[in-house]
Amino acid sequence: MGKLRIAGYWAAGCGGCEIAALEIGDKIIQLAEVADIVFWPVAVDFKYHDVEQMADKSIDVCLFNGAIRSSENEHIAKLLRAKSKVMVAYGSCAYEGCIPALANLTNRQGIFNRVYIETPSTDNSNHTFPQTSYQVPEGELTLPEFYDTVKTLGQTVEVDYFMPGCPPVGKQTWAVLEAIIQGKLPPPGSVVGAGTRALCEECPRVKEEKKVKAFYRPYEIMPDPEKCLLEQGLLCAGVATREGCGALCPKASMPCTGCYGPMEGVIDQGAKFLSAVASIIDSNDPEEINRIIQSIRDPVGTFYRYSLAESLLRRARIQ
């Protein structure tokens, strides 16, 4: 049997997932024995036209990271889907939008105005904006179209497996690669490289009663190293986040921010996190409740930091 043919691609994302793939460490030697990389722009020199010339389904597994926010992202997602037997949404951007999806609180016009006109150090008195097509004497220059809305990979093509994490931790990346090599994957559509329960199950902190009189930003307090962070008033998303990362952040006294996405069976992570936070407010007086809520400056950014594109509302409604 020939070697596995593996592809990787980086769409709308920070590139951290590309680097995170290397967290498998020396397992990469085992990987190289059984697999060939047939396309991975960040590391190997194959081009788009090499992929176009492949037979359909000739790539065994494609690890696609990044969200879909331009016509190029969409085009390559569809191309790789056609050429791949198994498509994996690798990391939070591809799975649920991650940070790029927070742009769904605005749209292209809002973003372009800010970037090209309003930023204090920009001098663009001609109001020049990027165009998708521009004629120069030598011919036509083109740029991909910038969409109003960031979509997930799953909202663009059929995805076989979803790997949460920003980025997925090395141990889980190797667990999934091993499952692929051994042919031991669960049914298509599954989330892999993670558990099913809340992060609280993996977190070693002591959990008692949750009754909070005030919420704090991480820099505002010195957390007790043993107690649950949520009980101390930090907005720890672990209570609404899928386990799988080993609770790395809470172990370092930083509240979880939710990058492993919602637990099994939950449609909308932000709604659950919001509900949990509001439920533990220790007050029944409307004025006091409002005062405590004031300290949560940015509910969407806090509760949907990674999952906005996959949430129920997906984006802000703009007139």
Binding site: D148, A271, V277, P286, I293, L313, R315, R317, I318
Partner: protein, 136 residues
């Protein structure tokens, strides 16, 4: 062209507000027909997910009605609802969903007329506001 008829989804608690709504009906109190009432056992049962799902499916407004503070059949459910809905309202504003579109109110089983006036008020406000802005 026909006047815009807002679609309002209402989550009414079994013990107070749903009975209040029922009383409005049996008393033949005239109220706008725009609210689709869903009975839950307690306003504290209302998961923010339900409210978001209603907006996602095209609701122009969502109402959560519960027992007056101190009168909850389950003692504290309505207090939990108050906390949740306050935070949810703050978040909905960031989604471009105006605050008139989401209300939490207390209606007792004997307040048929209060139910009617809440429904009429919200319908009138939403008629002025129009439908929720389209995606993007």
């Amino acid at each position: 062209m026909a006047e815009f008829e807002p679609k309002i989804v209402g989550f009414l608690c079994n013990w107070c507000s749903y009975r209040g709504a029922d009383l409005a009906g049996t008393s033949r109190i005239k109220s706008a027909p725009n609210v689709r009432s869903l009975r839950v056992m307690c306003s504290g049962r209302v998961d923010p997910t339900f409210v978001l799902k209603a907006f996602q499916l095209g609701a122009d407004g969502v109402l959560v009605l519960g027992c007056h503070p101190g009168d909850c059949h389950y003692k504290e459910g309505n207090y939990k609802a108050a906390r949740r809905m306050a935070l949810l309202k703050k978040m909905l504003a960031q989604f471009g969903i105006e605050e008139e579109r989401f209300m939490l109110e207390w209606v007792s089983a004997s307040e048929g007329d209060r139910f009617a006036s809440i429904v009429n008020d919200m319908t009138a406000k939403l008629k002025k506001l129009g439908p929720v802005a389209q995606q993007g």
